[in-house]
């Protein structure tokens, strides 16, 4: 039994498959980190957008009402409350969260070329860029909702205490709100990040050679090997190990933030 196992792991076939899977997994990792690096800050910006209370019509409408000496009717009230930035952001959140990521990847990769806007070019580099862009956008919108929940979950009294102490809006956000928000969002964020680990496999729809694509390739034929089923299932080991590491790291972060309540 043991000898058979050693023989298997030392066989040329296993080494060929493992090296292919490793190179596939490197692509997976790259996509994972690029998505996090892009989507974490972009999501924060979008969350500010959807919380924006910029209402450009409030002043002119209020002024016109005062001049006419009339009480605001239904239309006037709707105009006063019209917040374009927030509206656009929430509309985009709905679209991005309401459609499949696969569809977004395909759309982003093919549609610009079909419309004659631009092409991503050929080769694996171009495919990676297109997929990464789709992932960053998709995850940024998901993250933005998590951020929004985290920020709105911080009691108003915290902001007011900062205001009363003469702090600027920027200081209130960075010195008071931010860390309390981070503490609140670590659990839902962990969920989303673990999902991202596995979602990277969707990149194969435009033939990005990530780890699942590599695993499957040995069924069809790769490096002179074909009809091999186990490499596809073996990819699960990569995902399990990686999501395990991510879980441990995020758990540590959660522990670190336990110094306050």
């Amino acid at each position: 039994m043991l000898r058979a196992a050693v023989e298997f792991f030392a066989s040329e076939q296993f080494l060929a498959v493992a090296s292919a899977l490793n190179s596939g997994f490197l692509v997976t990792l790259r996509l994972f980190f690029v998505t996090l690096l892009g989507a974490l800050p972009l999501g924060l910006l979008i969350s500010f957008g959807s919380m924006s209370r910029w209402a450009p019509l409030a002043r002119p409408v209020g002024w016109a009402l005062r001049r006419a000496g009339r009480a605001p009717g239904r239309v006037a009230r709707a105009l006063i409350r019209f917040c374009p930035v927030s509206l656009v952001c929430r509309l985009l959140v709905w679209i991005v969260r309401g459609t499949p990521l696969v569809l977004q990847i395909i759309t982003l990769f093919y549609v610009p070329g079909m419309l004659g806007l631009f092409t991503w070019g050929g080769g694996s580099g171009a495919r990676f860029t297109a997929v990464a862009a789709a992932f960053v956008i998709n995850y940024a919108f998901y993250f933005s909702e998590i951020y929004r929940g985290g920020i709105q979950g911080v009691p108003v009294g915290q902001k007011e205490a900062g205001q009363v102490l003469g702090m600027t809006r920027r200081q209130i956000f960075f010195k008071i709100t931010l860390l309390q928000m981070v503490k609140r969002i670590v659990p839902p964020m962990s969920n989303e990040i673990i999902t991202l680990v596995k979602d990277t496999s969707l990149a194969r729809v435009i033939a990005l050679q990530e780890v699942i694509w590599m695993g499957e390739s040995f069924m069809k034929g790769n490096k002179g090997i074909s009809g091999l089923v186990w490499p596809l299932f073996f990819t699960a080991v990569y995902y399990l190990v990686f999501s395990g590491v991510v879980t441990i790291l995020l758990g540590r972060l959660e522990k670190k933030l336990e110094f306050f309540r």
């Binding site: 009691p155 009294g157 915290q158 007011e160 205490a161 900062g162 205001q163 009363v164 102490l165 003469g166 702090m167 600027t168 200081q171 010195k175 008071i176 860390l179 309390q180 110094f259 306050f260 309540r261």
Partner: protein, 261 residues
């Protein structure tokens, strides 16, 4: 001249009139207690003074300088409001300490941020920060909390938290210190330690406005008492006189409900 001059303040929340033509003055070194049932507008008045609410009418002047005038939009610019707030300190009913900072850091945070705006900050950074720390420790000692300086808010009792909050408000040396029902969120056995601190501040001639439900405390500590009901000032006068010999029927009925407490 009176240190605080409030004239004809009026405030609406939608169609509801919360404050109606409130005017009063406060002399330097005096303590004013505001009493009245919930919903009488006491807290809103305090929030107007601290620029957490914007009155619809009226004006607020400190030491003769008009800080707010509803008819003059120039007094309502956000950048200036921030500086004007520093004339007032506010102690909240729910403490609103910053949970991620220790007691001492809560006290020194805002002073530290303000000191960065000083022209000599870069050269004297060390000395300035050392001074802020020493001042913070002195304030905590004054509150009887020197042994709690490095505790986080969740490690403190309610009474201790509120005393840290008082130290935090005092750190900015406001002209007028406002208390919004400072003991209402505390267990009865913890109110004493907070009231003792406020009493000693009164003895040191700190100018204060205290919204409170502690009638005996208002009578003994405040110089003036103001009774509010339905958004108007029903009666105002020397503390002992208003509480022991109220002139108005409404005041008498309100105080009767507190008899025996």
């Amino acid at each position: 001249m009176a240190i605080l001059q409030v004239q004809n303040i009026e405030k609406h929340f939608g169609p509801t009139r919360v404050l109606d033509d409130i005017s009063f003055t406060l002399e330097q070194g005096q303590a004013l207690a505001i009493i009245g049932s919930s919903g009488s507008g006491k807290t809103t008045l305090l929030r107007c003074l601290n620029f957490l609410e914007t009155p619809d009418r009226g004006s607020i002047a400190v030491s003769g300088e008009t800080l707010f005038d509803a008819q003059d939009p120039a007094t309502q610019r956000e950048s200036e409001v921030r500086k004007k707030r520093l004339h007032f300190g506010l102690v909240f009913q729910s403490f609103n300490l910053f949970p991620q900072y220790t007691a001492l850091e809560n006290v020194t945070l805002a002073v530290g941020l303000l000191s960065q705006e000083r022209p000599d900050f870069k050269q004297n950074r060390r000395a300035i920060q050392e001074k802020i720390r020493a001042d913070g420790m002195a304030l905590l000692e004054q509150m009887g909390l020197s042994d709690r300086a490095n505790h986080y808010p969740h490690q403190l009792s309610g009474g201790q938290q509120q005393r840290v909050a008082i130290a935090r408000a005092l750190a900015l040396r406001p002209d007028i210190l406002c208390f919004d029902e400072p003991t209402s969120a505390l267990d009865p056995e913890l109110t004493g330690e907070v009231l003792r601190v406020i009493r000693s501040l009164a003895q040191q001639k700190t100018t204060m406005i205290i919204v409170t439900h502690e009638m005996a405390f208002a009578r003994d500590v405040a110089d003036q008492v103001m009774f509010m009901d339905g958004g108007i000032v029903v009666e105002q006068g020397p503390a002992r006189q208003v509480i022991e010999h109220p002139a108005q029927e409404r005041t008498r009925r309100f105080l009767a409900r507190y008899e025996g407490k």
